[in-house]
């Protein structure tokens, strides 16, 4: 049995051109649809002389229904794994032919607005001299490997074929190839096609990114809406479509300032409405899950893939799809491939929900479909509405890396949260989602921004003033004694002049939080202050 695996890109480079959420969606949808078309062409492969010859897709989950369906977001990952009883050389020929065909028909679709996705049903000779085809082929980066399971596992010293193929493709992805003969930038975007078009020419994928509405119609998702950043940030108080009708017409970043000036007059407007969250999530324990599946029965990997597919897309009375989870919250899912996802969300969403509740809903759904031994970790960057999108996404991915580094062998499911101020300064905090520390912080965050409690304005100055006392308590005393000393500090030194109940409750909560964090050195104490700074800044303090 031979195995075939392929990876495609450049995903990050494609995202870096984006300035609007719909461009991000369209860019990731391109790669997902491309992968789906290629997989479908391999899935449907039939040898006219020998009907036993087959190509079976293992990852992602693929059956006739999945491959015929149109999804609201890109759900096909940037790589696939298949197995086949076809000989390696023949498999290579089939793959390269199908790849060229997919590139060719995709290039025709991009080049001519009158061509629909039906073009992918075609098979036959392609024109390799076609400029559109050459342009798209020049832009795309892809690598593949065809191999035998035992050979590859032995040479890579990996315990199963999935790990071995992944390791090889990870290496092959480092090889950016350059086609110096053919330029990928052949499309000019005109002002009549798109407001504020880029200067100069763009590559085919970038052209498609400016045609999100066309793509939406093509995938028969006319109800799909592309929310602008202010629409997302203001989700909890945007009640009527008319509120942002003007913004939908022309959602360039220059218009956001004027839009916000109007909304600031709303009685429910809060400083945090000027911030939005970028959520980057990835599964924990997936390697172990695959390992145990392989040791039990390698054929079960297809069931695992199917469960991932259901986690992403199943929409029923008991379970919402990821798209709907984001939509109902007031956010927007950009893509969900495998155990990765990228989405935009408000800090407080519709129906009085908050960002933490959104993360919990995603985590619960993940475990519901894939089991309790796996979890999701998150990088969440909170950004000012004018922040460049690509920087916000980059930051969220970097935070995900911090969250993954927080995980241990025995404990996973971390959140790395960061606020980037308008000036560029950032505040960060990392938590285990199962910890009491996270629960306390979460409640402090929600209650402060909902104005149930009120942290004193001078809180950080007060805490910083007694930094050495706090450090001394937690590094030199028992837990019980340190709690008594902590009480004494708060009773006598950390005060609020307002004497309001909200302030008193807030200080009690801060004290409780400090008793759990137990800052016994400068670094931990500074982290504590940073975490409190996130909350105070979002409520409007400067």
């Amino acid at each position: 049995m031979n195995y075939l695996s392929l990876t495609i890109g450049p995903i990050y480079e494609t995202m870096s051109y984006c300035k609007k959420t719909r461009e991000l969606w369209a860019g990731s949808y391109f790669f997902s649809y491309f992968m789906k078309s290629l997989i479908k062409s391999l899935y449907e492969y039939k040898d006219e002389e020998n009907s036993d010859k087959k190509i079976e897709i293992i990852i992602p989950y693929s059956d006739e229904k999945v491959l015929d369906e149109y999804f609201e977001v890109g759900i096909f990952h940037d790589r696939f794994i298949a197995k086949s009883n076809i000989e390696k050389e023949e498999l290579k020929t089939i793959l390269e032919k199908r790849m060229d065909e997919t590139i060719y028909y995709m290039s025709l679709f991009i080049g001519d607005d009158n061509i629909s996705f039906d073009i992918f049903e075609k098979r036959g000779e392609i024109d390799k001299e076609n400029e559109l085809y050459q342009s798209l082929k020049s832009y795309l980066q892809y690598s593949y490997i065809i191999t035998d399971e035992d050979e590859l596992c032995s040479q890579t010293k990996k315990e199963n074929i999935v790990f071995a193929l992944d390791a090889v493709l990870d290496s092959m992805e480092l090889e950016s190839s350059f086609d110096f003969k053919n330029s990928s930038k052949i499309f000019e975007i005109k002002r009549e096609d798109y407001s504020n078009p880029p200067e100069g020419k763009v590559n085919p994928v970038a052209k498609l990114q400016y045609q999100a509405q066309r793509l939406k119609k093509e995938i028969k998702q006319n109800e799909l809406t592309f929310k602008s950043i202010p629409e997302i940030a203001l989700a909890s108080i945007l009640k009527h479509k008319n509120d942002y009708k003007e913004l939908n017409k022309d959602d360039d970043i220059e218009k956001y300032e004027a839009f916000y000036k109007e909304f600031e007059k709303d009685k429910d407007f809060k400083p945090h409405h000027k911030y939005f969250a970028v959520i980057s999530a990835d599964g924990d324990g997936m390697g172990s899950a695959i390992r145990s599946i392989y040791s039990e029965n390698p054929d079960y990997i297809t069931n695992f893939s199917e469960n991932i597919y259901k986690y992403i897309s199943e929409n029923s009375d008991n379970s919402k799809s990821l798209v709907n989870i984001f939509e109902e919250y007031g956010g927007m899912l950009i893509y969900a491939g495998g155990d990765d996802l990228l989405g935009f969300a408000p800090i407080f969403g519709k129906n009085e929900k908050n960002i933490f509740a959104l993360l919990e809903e995603l985590s619960n759904k993940f475990q519901e479909y894939l089991g309790k031994k796996v979890s999701l970790s998150y990088g969440v960057s909170l950004n000012y509405y004018k922040s460049p999108m690509i920087e916000a996404i980059k930051h969220a991915h970097s935070l995900l890396y911090d969250a993954k580094n927080n995980n241990t062998k025995d404990k996973s499911g971390s959140l790395a949260l960061s606020l980037s101020k308008h000036s560029g300064q950032t505040y960060e905090g990392v938590f285990f989602l199962s910890d009491d520390r996270y629960e306390l912080y979460k409640q402090l965050f929600i209650d402060e921004l909902s104005e149930v409690i009120k942290l004193p304005h001078n809180l950080q100055h007060s805490l910083k003033k007694y930094e050495t006392l706090f450090i001394d308590i937690f590094s030199n005393y028992t837990l019980e004694r340190s709690k008594q000393k902590l009480d004494a500090i708060f009773d006598n030194l950390i005060k609020d002049e307002s004497h309001s109940q909200e302030a008193k409750t807030a200080l009690d909560r801060v004290k409780e939080y400090i008793s759990i964090v137990q800052p016994e050195d400068e670094t931990t104490f500074d982290l504590l202050l940073t975490q409190l700074a996130i909350i105070k800044f979002l409520r409007g303090d400067r």
Binding site: P10, Y12, E13, K19, K88, E89, L91, K92, E96, S143, Y144, I145, I146, T147, D148, E151, L152, Q155, T156, A167, V168, D170, S171, M172, E173, L174, E175, S176, S177, F178, D179, F180, K185, P198, G200, I253, E257, A258, K386, S387, P388, E391, Y401, K404, H422, S423, G424, Q425
Partner: protein, 363 residues
């Protein structure tokens, strides 16, 4: 001809720009190092100014026609429009990529360069990830796995000095690289945009991220210049130079290369401009390639491409507003592996003197 070392100490936060400009975004972040064309332009301008060859104009500084011949002798007349075909940079024979100098008691103790893209950390040890060819596999090119590379941990980024590069050249265990944020301190500013460069444009706020260097660090550039027949006062002198955007100013000091740095592997590489061949080539500067080198390389680590354009002006009395055609460069730090000793394509025209397509050769 003589090799000299130039030290550039930032006098205020500096900003080295790239393709992105404020027109398309309200956020701009400086690069750690300038492009070769920026360094070259700054040095040429500096030398001409020192010799009184420049005049001020509303669109900037320019050389008058009566001084043009003198200027040509100093810095050549190759321009952004014809760098590919005209290599005349006057007395500049070579300008290296910029690096960092570690300064102790006003002396250079080390020269730091950004490390290549194959350094990994495994069990607290820094080493290179090595490519291993796989047999009985098929693809459109040789199938290679980079041993010990973990995509989730990625490669180590940072800067390496003399010890690092010596160890790297000998395929030994590596000294811990220095992280960028230990040397570069970011400095954010919020500014307000101007209409037509003059009036405040209400609401047009932008964020600019510049850098400063920590105490004890300066920038460095190696130059090969021909000053043999020049009087002392005409030679490159210490002074103040502008390099980069937003009037980033630096103190400029020129001296011989200190003996302690003479055997720095990268200094040796810059000073040896003959064609070098090896089975592992590490790019020390962004490189312009006309062909896809991976036709010969069995593996390469080229994680991204660098878009590159320059501002051009029709003549000296006009502001530079036209951008040259975009090129894609292979970024420094990229690595190529060959079965047989191979070399890298030389850059064309003046680009080779500007320090493009520089590489370290290992076998």
């Amino acid at each position: 001809m003589a090799w000299k070392l130039i030290r550039l100490k930032p006098l205020k936060p500096f900003f080295f720009g790239k393709e992105t400009n404020f027109k398309n975004t309200n956020y701009a972040k400086s690069e750690y190092f300038p492009q070769q064309t920026q360094i070259t332009g700054a040095l040429r301008l500096y030398w001409m100014e020192q010799n009184g060859l420049m005049k001020m104009h509303k669109h900037g500084r320019y050389c008058t026609s009566d001084k043009a011949e003198d200027a040509k002798k100093f810095v050549g007349d190759a321009g952004a429009k014809n760098f590919e075909t005209d290599d005349n940079l006057g007395r500049f024979n070579f300008i290296s990529p910029m690096f960092l100098c570690k300064i102790v008691d006003n002396c250079i103790k080390d020269a730091l360069f950004e490390i290549p893209n194959d350094v990994i950390k495994e069990d607290c040890i820094y080493k290179t990830a090595n490519p291993k060819k796989l047999s009985n596999t098929l693809s459109s090119k040789p199938v290679v796995i980079l041993e010990n590379y973990d995509v989730k941990k990625d490669f180590v980024k940072g800067l390496g000095g003399l010890d690092f590069w010596k160890q790297y050249s000998r395929f030994e265990k590596l000294t811990c690289p220095i992280e960028h944020n230990k040397i570069f301190t970011s400095y954010e500013q919020v500014g307000i945009g101007l209409k037509d460069g003059k009036q405040v444009d209400e609401g047009k706020f932008y964020t600019k991220k510049s850098y400063m260097l920590e105490n004890g660090y300066e920038f460095g550039v190696l130059v090969d210049i021909d000053e043999n027949d020049l009087k002392e006062e005409k030679k490159l002198q210490d002074g103040i130079i502008t390099l980069g955007a937003e009037t980033s100013t630096f103190s400029f000091k020129i001296s011989d290369i200190p003996s302690s740095m003479q055997n720095h592997p990268l200094f040796e590489s810059f000073q040896n401009q003959t064609e070098q061949k090896g089975t592992k080539l590490i790019l020390l500067s962004d490189s312009m390639l006309d062909y896809s080198i991976d036709e010969n390389a069995y593996f390469q680590i080229v994680p991204y491409k660098v878009p590159f354009r320059m501002m051009q002006r029709k003549d000296v009395n006009e502001q530079a507003t036209k951008k040259s055609e975009e090129k894609l460069l292979v970024p420094k730090g990229s690595i190529y592996f060959f079965d047989e000793p191979s070399s890298l394509q030389k850059a064309k025209g003046a680009y080779v003197k500007m320090g493009f397509n520089q590489y370290l050769v290992l076998n």
